[in-house]
C-alpha cells in the first residue's frame, strides 16, 4: 500500500536530508524547476484533487489559483503546523519524522504561486519538534534547496520556522497570521481573504502541514497517480490519528475511501472487546456519529459528509459503550469555552453557557428546558461568528444531543448517569 508521507520512515532514524534524498526527496523540486511552469505545477495539484488536510477539505489547487499572478510586492506561503484540534496528532509526526517533505512541498508551493518567503507556524507546546524543523531547514539551505537561485534557476525562496504559543485559536488561519505578525492571535473577519490581504497585508496562502507534505509526491508522480490512490474528488492517502477506546491508538496513513471498519481493525479494534458506541470521525469540532453508522462508512470527505459529519483533520475518536455522552460533551464544551478567543459575542458568551448548562446537567442539576436551550443556543452560534470556532463549539452539541438525546434526558430527569459502570456515576448526587 502506497504511503505518500509516512512511507519508508524508520522513526527517529530517517528524518535527515540524506535519508529524504535517498527516498527520492527533492526530485519533485528538480523536476518543477527544470521543466515546469508555475501554472503547470498548480495544474498537477488541481488534477490530484488534493483537499486541504487542515479541516475544511478545500481543494488545494483551486486555492492556489486565488493568489494574484501579477502582483509586484511580496507574497507569502504559510504552513499551519499549529495542530491543536483535540484528537489530532499527525502534523507533529510529519514534522518530526519527515520534515523535508514539508519543506519541499512549501518550496514547490512558493514556486507555483510566486511567493518568495514561507513561514512554518509550529504549535507552541512541541519545542523539540521546532528544533528539529530548524535543523532540517538549515540542511535544506546548506544544500541549496532554499535561498537565492535555487538549483541554479531564477527562483529564490526562503523558509522560516515560527514557534507559536499554544493557543488553539492560532490554528485558525487568520489568527495564525496575526500571531505571526506578533499580535494577539485573533481571527480576522473575511473577506478580505488571505489571498488578497494576508500576512502583513500581502497575498498569502495558508495550508496545513499534511497538505504541503503531499505536494512533492504529486509533482513527482503526477496528479493523476495521486488521485488514483484515493477516489474521485478525494485524491490520495490521508493520515488518520486514531485515538480513544482502541487497542493501538496512532497515526495510520491509508487511501481515502478505506472503510472505517478496516481502519478500526488496523488500530486493534475497540479496547477490551467492548462494543463501539460513537465515533467523532474528523477531530473534536466535527459532529459525532453513532458507532453502527460509522461501521458502514468509508473514510473519505464525501462519504462522511453525506452521513452528517465531516472528515475534518482526520482525527478519529472512538468511544465505547461505557462512555457517558453527557460527560464527554461536557469535556468538549469546556475546551471550546476555554479556547474561544472572545472577540465575537455569540462565541464568547455562548460557549460559556454551553459549558455551564451541560456542566449542570452532568452534575444532576439540569432543568427540563435546558436541552432545548442548548439547541437554540447552538443555533445562535453556528454560522454567525467571525471564525469557525463558533461552529466547532456548536456542532458537537447538536450532534450529541440529536444522536443521544435519551441519555441527556435521563441525566435531567434522574439526576444520574444512564451508562452502567460510568466512571462518573458515583459522583452524581
Amino acid at each position: 500500500m502506497t504511503q505518500v508521507i509516512l512511507g519508508g520512515l524508520d522513526g527517529n532514524r530517517t528524518w535527515r536530508l540524506a535519508d529524504y534524498v535517498a527516498r527520492g526527496g527533492y526530485e519533485a523540486l528538480r523536476k518543477a524547476l527544470s521543466g515546469m511552469t508555475p501554472e503547470q505545477v498548480i495544474e498537477e495539484v488541481k488534477k490530484s484533487s488534493l483537499r486541504g488536510r487542515g479541516g475544511a477539505g478545500f481543494p488545494t489547487g483551486l486555492k492556489w489559483t486565488f493568489m494574484p499572478r501579477n502582483y509586484s510586492g511580496d507574497k507569502y506561503v504559510v504552513c499551519n503546523s499549529d495542530e491543536g484540534e483535540p484528537g489530532t496528532f499527525k502534523d507533529r509526526d510529519i514534522l518530526r519524522y519527515n520534515p523535508h517533505a514539508l519543506i519541499e512541498g512549501m518550496i514547490l508551493a512558493g514556486y507555483a504561486m510566486g511567493a518568495t518567503r514561507g513561514y512554518n507556524y509550529i504549535h507552541g507546546e512541541i519545542w523539540s519538534v521546532y528544533e528539529r524543523c530548524e535543523e532540517a531547514v538549515q540542511e535544506a539551505r546548506d544544500a541549496g534547496f532554499l535561498g537565492q537561485n535555487i538549483l541554479g534557476s531564477e527562483f529564490s525562496f526562503d523558509l522560516f520556522n515560527h514557534h507559536g504559543y499554544g493557543a488553539y485559536i492560532c490554528g485558525e488561519e487568520t489568527a495564525l497570521l496575526e500571531s505571526l505578525e506578533g499580535k494577539k492571535g485573533q481571527p480576522r473577519y473575511k473577506p478580505p481573504f488571505p489571498a488578497t490581504y494576508g500576512l502583513y497585508g500581502k497575498p498569502t496562502t495558508i495550508n496545513n502541514t499534511e497538505t504541503f507534505a503531499s505536494v512533492p509526491w504529486i509533482i513527482r508522480h503526477g496528479g493523476q497517480a495521486f488521485l488514483e490512490l484515493g477516489k474521485p474528488n478525494n485524491g490520495g492517502t490521508k493520515i488518520f490519528s486514531v485515538s480513544g477506546h482502541v487497542s493501538r491508538p496512532g497515526n495510520y496513513e491509508v487511501p481515502l475511501g478505506t472503510p472505517f471498519a478496516k481502519l478500526l481493525e488496523m488500530a486493534g479494534g475497540v479496547r477490551g472487546g467492548r462494543k463501539i458506541k460513537a465515533v467523532i470521525p474528523g477531530g473534536s469540532s466535527m459532529p459525532v456519529l453513532p458507532g453502527d453508522v460509522m461501521m458502514q462508512l468509508d473514510m473519505d470527505y464525501d462519504s462522511i459528509s453525506k452521513a452528517g459529519s465531516m472528515l475534518g483533520s482526520g482525527a478519529v475518536i472512538v468511544m465505547d459503550e461505557t462512555t457517558c455522552m453527557v460527560r464527554a460533551l461536557e469535556r468538549l464544551s469546556w475546551f471550546y469555552h476555554e479556547e474561544s478567543c472572545g472577540q465575537c459575542t455569540p462565541c464568547r458568551e455562548g460557549t460559556g453557557w454551553l459549558y455551564r448548562v451541560i456542566h449542570r446537567m452532568e452534575h444532576g442539576q439540569g432543568r427540563a428546558e435546558d436541552l432545548d436551550l442548548l439547541l437554540s443556543l447552538s443555533d445562535n452560534i453556528q454560522g454567525r461568528t467571525i471564525c469557525a470556532l463558533g461552529d466547532a463549539a456548536a456542532m458537537p452539541v447538536r450532534s450529541f444531543v440529536n444522536h443521544f438525546r435519551a441519555e441527556f434526558e435521563h441525566h435531567v430527569t434522574h439526576k444520574r448517569c444512564l451508562v452502567e459502570g460510568s466512571a462518573r456515576q458515583e459522583k452524581v448526587a
Binding site: 493557543a167 485559536i169 494577539k184 473577519y189 473577506p191 469555552h337 476555554e338 479556547e339 474561544s340 478567543c341 472572545g342 472577540q343 465575537c344 459575542t345 455569540p346 462565541c347 464568547r348 458568551e349 455562548g350 460557549t351 460559556g352 453557557w353 455551564r356 448548562v357 449542570r360 432543568r367 428546558e369 436551550l373 437554540s376 443556543l377 443555533d379 445562535n380 454560522g383 454567525r384 461568528t385 467571525i386
Partner: protein
C-alpha cells in the same frame, strides 16, 4: 444668530467614510442607494435613514465585526454577513430585517444581558447607553440563562484616573476602547487581556489606568457604548440636557468641543466630530481640565489699590474702570502720551485682542501695544512673511495624511499639540518617514508601530547650522527641484542663496563640530527630505525662541522652496502654535508696528482706512515692544500698563528684570481670571472671564477661525470685551458694540484677508481658514498654490551666527525648556485641575553622566544658576538629553525657570532665547534666594487679597 443647541448624542453612521471615485448602487430593504465603493452596508443603510442594530461599530473607528448584531441577509449569498464589515457592491439586494435576523439579534442581546448587571436605573449612562438602546431595538423580552456563576458582576472598579472610572462589570468587550486608543490616539495603552469569556479590557499589563501608558485623552471613554468607561463628572452630575459647540482654549490645535450642559453648568466637554482641526479627538487638557473655570481661586470682583503693598480694596466695576482710566490719563498728562501701553494675550479671543489694540491706538493715542506672541512665534511671522508673503502656516492639519516624509524641528507634538500628534502618529504607522531635529529624544523618536528614521540630536542654539548643512547637501548633490524654483521663485535671490549654501563652511562635515550631529546622518536625512515624496515640515518654539529664531524660520522656508514642497497637500511649512490664539492675536494687529492683517502702521493707505473708520488721526511711528516697555519702565519714561490675560512675570525671560520693571510702574491694570504672578504687582484688577463665559473666535495654527460660545454668564458680571469697551469709554474714546459679532464685522471691513468672515459664515461652515475674501468665500485651506502670496518666493541668506550664550567653565551646561502634556504654559489653569495628579512639579532633566559628575541622584534637589539668576529644582536623571544639555518645564511659578533665562533675543523680533541658557547645576539643600523672595512675596500678596478679620480696617 448663534448655532442652535445640539443634542448631546451625535449621529453615528457606524463605519468611517470611504473616498472613492467609483460609486456603487444597491438596494437595501427595497430602497435604492448609491455610495462610494468601499462603503460598508451599515453606512450605506444609515445614509438612507435605516438603522441596523450595532454595538461594536462606530463611525470613528474601523469596523471590527465582533458583536454580530448587525448581521444582514444578502440575496444570493449564504449565511449572515456582518453589515459593518461587508462592503457594498453593485447590484446587491440586502435585507436588514427578517424573522430570522430578529431571532438572531435577540439571541445575541440575550447573551449580552446574561452577564450584565441589571442596574440600569442607577447607572451613570442611563439615557446614554447603546446596550440599553439595542435591547430595546431588538425587542429583548427574556433572558433564559440561569443565574449561576455570573463571572464579571463583582469585578473591581478602577477609579485611579482623576477623570474617568473603569467598571469592568459593565463591559461588553466590544473592543471600541482598545481600537480608539490605537487608531485615534495612537498610544496603544489598552488591550483585551485573557481569552474568551474571561477577556477583559486591560490598561498596560492589567495595571490601573494611572499606572499604564494611558495619557488620559478620553478617546476610549468617548468610544465606550456603555457605562464601563465613564466620566466622573457624569457620575456626579448626571446626563447633559443639551450641548453647545465651542473651541478649546488651550493649545494652538484649536480642537472643536461640545460643551455638554445642564442649565448653565458644564457637565462634560466632548470632542466635536465636526471640528475640522480635531475630527472628534481631544487631549487631557481640553477634554478634562476645564474645572479651573469654577475654581475657588477665581477673582470675581474688581479691586484697586494705591501701592502694591496695600491691601486690595473690592470696588464696583464702575469705580475700578474710572480709577484705571483716570490713572492712565494722569500718567499721560505728567509723563507724555507714550508713557502708557497695553499687552494683549494669545489666550484671548480675536475680538478682545482687536479691541485692546484699538483702545491703545485710539484711546491711548500711541502704538504701544504688543502681544505675548512676541515671546513665542514672532519669528514665524517675520520669516514666513519675508519669504512667502504670509505670516502663517501653509497647510491644514489633515494635510499630513498625504505626507511621505515628515520633518519635525524643535517641536514636541505628542506633549504640546497632542491631537495633531495623534494624527501624525497615524500617518507614521501608515509608513511615512520621519526626521527629527531636536536636542531631546522626544516621544516621537520611537513609539508603538513607528520609529524615526533620523534623530539629529543637535546642541541647543545650532539650528541654523543644521538647516544650512541640509541645504548644502540638497544643492551640492543636485537635489534641487529646479522646475519649482525656476517658475515659482525669485531667481536672483535663489542664485545668491545657492552661492551661499554651497560654501564649504556650510557642509555637514564642517558643521559637525558645531552641531554635534554626525555629517553622514545629516546627509542621509537631507536626501530623504529632498527625494522621499511629499515632505512636510512641522516646527515649534524650539525654532523660534532663539537668538537666530527668525533666521531659522527663513532657513526652513528656503528648504521647502528649494525642494518644491509648497502649494499642495502633504507638504508645506507648519508652525505649531503654542497657545490657542497665537495666530489670531498676531492677525489682529497687536503689534507696535502693525495693524490687523500685518500692515505696517506707517503705510498711509492702511492707516487712513483705520483713521476714517475710527474717526480720529492715528500715529505712524511704531510703538514699544514688550522688552522696550520694560526698559522704558526702568528708565522712567513708561509708567502705566494695561495687561490683558497674560502673565508676563512668569512667562517672560529674566524674571527679576521683569519684576523690577513692573515695580516701577505707577499703574498696572491686570485683567485675568486668577491673581496671577503679574497681578501681584498690579494696582487695578479687573476680573476676566474664561472661554466658557464669552462669545468670540480663536484662530488656530492652521489659520482656522472657530467660534467660542458662551455657555454660562460671566462669573464676574462682565465679559472681557465689555471691560475693554468700558475702559475705552472711560478714557474718552467711546466704543459701541452690542455683541462680539459686530467686532468681527468691523475686523472684516478693515482687514482684506478677513473680509468674508462673519459669525453667520462660521455658524454655517463650522470654521473657516483665512484668507477668506471674495476670491475665497469659504476660506483657504492650502496656501501658495500656483504662486506665493508675495508673488515669487524669496530666498534669503541664513548665515549661522553662534549665540552669545556660550558655555564656560562657570556655566558648563546648556539649559533648554519645554512643556509637558498635562500642564499648560504658566499653569494658571491646569494647576487648578486634577491634572496635578499627572505632573505636580517642574523637574530638571539631566543626563546620567552629568548627574554622576556632580554626585546628583534622581530626585535630589539641585541648584541651577545662570548669568541671570538661580533657582532650585528636583533632578530627574534621564537619557532623553545628550550629555551637556539639561531641560526643564516652566509650569510652576515657584520653579522660577525664567529666573534663569536671559535677556538674549531674536535679532529681528526680540523673541526671547528661552531655549538656550548656559547654566551650572549643583546639589543643594535649600531654596534659592529668589525662591525665598517669591515665597514671602506670594504670602504677602495672598494676605493682601484676603485680609484676616482683625486687619480689616473700616473704610
Amino acid at each position: 444668530m448663534d448655532m442652535p443647541f445640539l443634542s448631546p448624542h451625535d449621529t453615528d453612521l457606524g463605519t468611517p467614510e470611504k473616498i472613492s471615485d467609483q460609486q456603487v448602487s444597491l438596494h437595501i430593504d427595497g430602497h435604492p442607494v448609491t455610495v462610494p465603493r468601499g462603503t460598508s452596508l451599515m453606512r450605506a443603510a444609515a445614509l438612507t435613514g435605516l438603522s441596523i442594530p450595532k454595538l461594536c461599530a462606530t463611525d470613528t473607528l474601523e469596523p471590527f465585526g465582533s458583536c454580530r448584531l448587525c448581521l444582514v441577509e444578502i440575496e444570493g449569498r449564504k449565511g449572515f454577513p456582518a453589515s459593518c464589515t461587508t462592503p457594498a457592491e453593485e447590484g446587491m439586494v440586502v435585507r436588514t430585517q427578517s424573522t430570522q435576523l430578529a431571532q438572531l439579534r435577540r439571541g445575541v442581546m440575550e447573551l449580552y444581558i446574561s452577564d450584565h448587571p441589571l442596574d440600569c436605573l442607577t447607572c451613570a449612562s442611563n439615557g446614554d447607553c447603546e446596550l440599553q438602546d439595542m435591547a430595546g431595538a431588538v425587542g429583548l423580552r427574556e433572558v433564559r440563562y440561569p443565574s449561576i456563576e455570573h463571572h464579571h458582576l463583582t469585578a473591581q472598579k478602577d477609579d485611579s484616573n482623576p477623570y474617568f472610572v473603569y467598571d469592568p462589570s459593565k463591559c461588553i468587550v466590544c473592543n471600541r476602547c482598545v481600537r480608539a486608543c490605537e487608531e485615534i490616539q495612537g498610544t496603544f495603552a489598552l488591550t483585551l487581556s485573557g481569552r474568551g469569556f474571561s477577556s477583559r479590557v486591560s490598561p498596560g499589563e492589567s495595571q490601573p489606568f494611572m499606572a499604564s501608558e494611558c495619557v488620559s485623552c478620553g478617546a476610549c471613554v468617548d468610544a465606550c457604548p456603555t457605562a464601563t468607561l465613564v466620566e466622573k463628572s457624569i457620575l456626579e452630575a448626571g446626563q447633559p440636557e443639551y450641548s453647545v459647540v465651542t473651541t478649546c482654549a488651550y493649545c494652538g490645535v484649536g480642537c472643536g468641543f461640545k460643551a455638554d450642559m445642564k442649565g448653565t453648568e458644564v457637565v462634560r466637554m466632548t470632542p466635536w466630530k465636526g471640528g475640522k482641526a480635531n475630527e472628534g479627538h481631544a487631549c487631557v487638557k481640553g477634554r478634562f481640565a476645564w474645572g479651573y473655570a469654577t475654581h475657588k481661586d477665581r477673582i470675581l470682583t474688581p479691586m484697586i489699590r494705591k501701592h502694591i503693598t496695600d491691601p486690595w480694596q473690592v470696588v464696583s466695576w464702575e469705580e475700578a474702570i474710572q480709577y484705571a482710566a483716570s490713572e492712565f490719563r494722569r500718567i499721560q498728562g505728567t509723563y507724555g502720551r507714550d508713557a502708557v501701553g497695553g499687552i494683549t494675550s494669545s489666550r484671548c479671543t480675536n475680538e478682545e485682542t482687536y479691541l485692546a489694540q484699538k483702545m491703545v491706538r485710539a484711546a491711548f493715542g500711541n502704538n504701544n501695544v504688543d502681544t505675548c506672541a512676541r515671546v513665542c512665534h514672532s519669528p514665524t511671522g517675520y520669516g514666513l512673511g519675508m519669504t512667502y508673503g504670509t505670516s502663517a502656516g501653509t497647510q491644514t492639519f489633515k494635510s499630513v495624511e498625504h505626507s511621505d516624509v515628515i520633518l519635525i524641528i524643535g517641536a514636541n507634538p505628542t506633549d504640546a499639540h497632542p491631537v495633531f500628534g495623534s494624527r501624525l502618529k497615524k500617518r507614521l504607522r501608515e509608513g511615512a518617514r520621519l526626521i527629527i531635529i531636536d536636542p531631546r529624544r522626544i516621544d516621537l523618536v520611537q513609539g508603538p508601530h513607528f520609529k524615526a528614521d533620523y534623530l539629529l540630536q543637535l546642541r541647543p542654539g545650532t539650528n541654523v547650522a543644521i538647516i544650512n548643512a541640509i541645504a548644502h547637501v540638497i544643492v551640492t548633490e543636485g537635489l534641487v527641484a529646479s522646475d519649482f524654483v525656476n517658475t515659482r521663485c525669485d531667481m536672483e535671490s535663489f542664485q545668491a542663496w545657492k552661492a551661499f549654501v554651497v560654501q564649504p563652511h556650510n557642509s555637514p562635515e564642517a558643521m559637525e563640530p558645531v552641531t554635534g550631529v554626525p555629517a553622514t546622518q545629516v546627509r542621509e536625512a537631507a536626501r530623504l527630505y529632498a527625494t522621499g515624496g511629499n515632505a512636510a515640515i512641522y516646527y515649534g518654539l524650539g525654532v523660534t525662541e532663539h537668538a537666530q529664531g527668525s533666521t531659522m524660520v527663513i532657513g526652513i522656508a528656503n528648504l521647502a522652496m528649494v525642494t518644491g514642497n509648497i502649494g499642495k497637500e502633504g507638504v508645506g511649512v507648519n508652525p505649531l502654535r503654542g497657545q490657542n490664539n497665537v495666530q489670531g492675536s498676531c492677525d489682529m494687529g497687536s503689534f507696535p508696528h502693525e495693524y490687523p492683517g500685518y500692515r505696517h502702521v506707517s503705510d498711509d493707505a492702511t492707516r487712513h482706512s483705520f483713521e476714517s473708520a475710527w474717526g480720529l488721526p492715528l500715529r505712524k511711528e511704531p510703538g514699544l515692544r514688550i522688552p522696550n516697555m520694560f526698559e522704558a519702565a526702568l528708565d522712567g519714561s513708561f509708567r502705566g500698563l494695561y495687561c490683558q490675560g497674560e502673565d508676563i512675570v512668569q512667562s517672560d525671560p529674566n524674571t527679576q528684570h521683569v519684576i523690577a520693571a513692573l515695580s516701577s510702574l505707577e499703574c498696572l491694570v491686570v485683567q485675568d481670571i486668577f491673581l496671577n504672578e503679574t497681578a501681584k504687582y498690579a494696582h487695578v484688577f479687573l476680573p476676566g472671564s474664561s472661554f466658557l463665559e464669552k462669545d468670540g473666535t480663536f484662530t488656530n495654527a492652521e489659520r482656522r477661525i472657530s467660534r467660542v460660545r458662551k455657555v454660562m454668564p460671566p462669573k464676574g458680571g462682565m465679559s472681557d470685551w465689555e471691560v475693554t469697551v468700558a475702559l475705552s469709554n472711560a478714557l474718552g474714546y467711546p466704543m459701541h458694540y452690542s455683541h462680539p459679532s459686530e467686532i468681527m464685522d468691523e475686523i472684516a471691513r478693515l482687514t482684506p484677508t478677513f473680509s468674508g468672515v462673519s459669525y453667520d459664515l462660521l455658524d454655517r461652515l463650522g470654521s473657516v481658514q483665512w484668507p477668506c475674501d471674495d476670491q475665497n468665500p469659504e476660506g483657504t485651506p492650502l496656501m501658495h498654490v500656483g504662486s506665493f502670496v508675495r508673488g515669487l518666493g524669496q530666498f534669503m541668506i541664513t548665515q549661522y551666527v553662534p549665540t552669545d550664550e556660550k558655555v564656560t567653565p562657570k556655566f558648563p551646561l546648556l539649559l533648554t525648556t519645554g512643556r509637558i502634556l498635562s500642564q499648560y504654559n504658566v499653569g494658571a489653569q491646569t494647576r487648578r485641575t486634577a491634572n496635578m495628579a499627572f505632573h505636580s512639579e517642574d523637574r530638571l532633566d539631566i543626563h546620567p553622566h552629568d548627574a554622576e559628575d556632580r554626585g546628583i541622584l534622581d530626585g535630589d534637589w539641585v541648584g541651577v544658576s545662570s548669568r541671570s539668576g538661580n533657582t532650585v529644582l528636583r533632578a530627574h536623571v534621564s537619557e532623553r538629553m545628550s550629555p551637556g544639555v539639561v531641560y526643564t518645564t516652566f509650569h510652576f511659578p515657584e520653579s522660577g525657570s525664567n529666573v534663569i533665562t536671559t535677556d538674549n533675543s531674536d535679532w529681528a523680533t526680540n523673541c526671547p532665547e528661552y531655549k538656550v541658557t548656559a547654566v551650572q547645576v549643583t546639589r543643594v539643600r535649600q531654596m534659592s534666594d529668589w525662591q525665598k523672595y517669591h515665597q514671602q512675596f506670594d504670602e504677602m500678596q495672598q494676605h493682601l487679597l484676603r485680609p484676616g478679620p482683625e486687619q480689616m480696617t473700616p473704610s
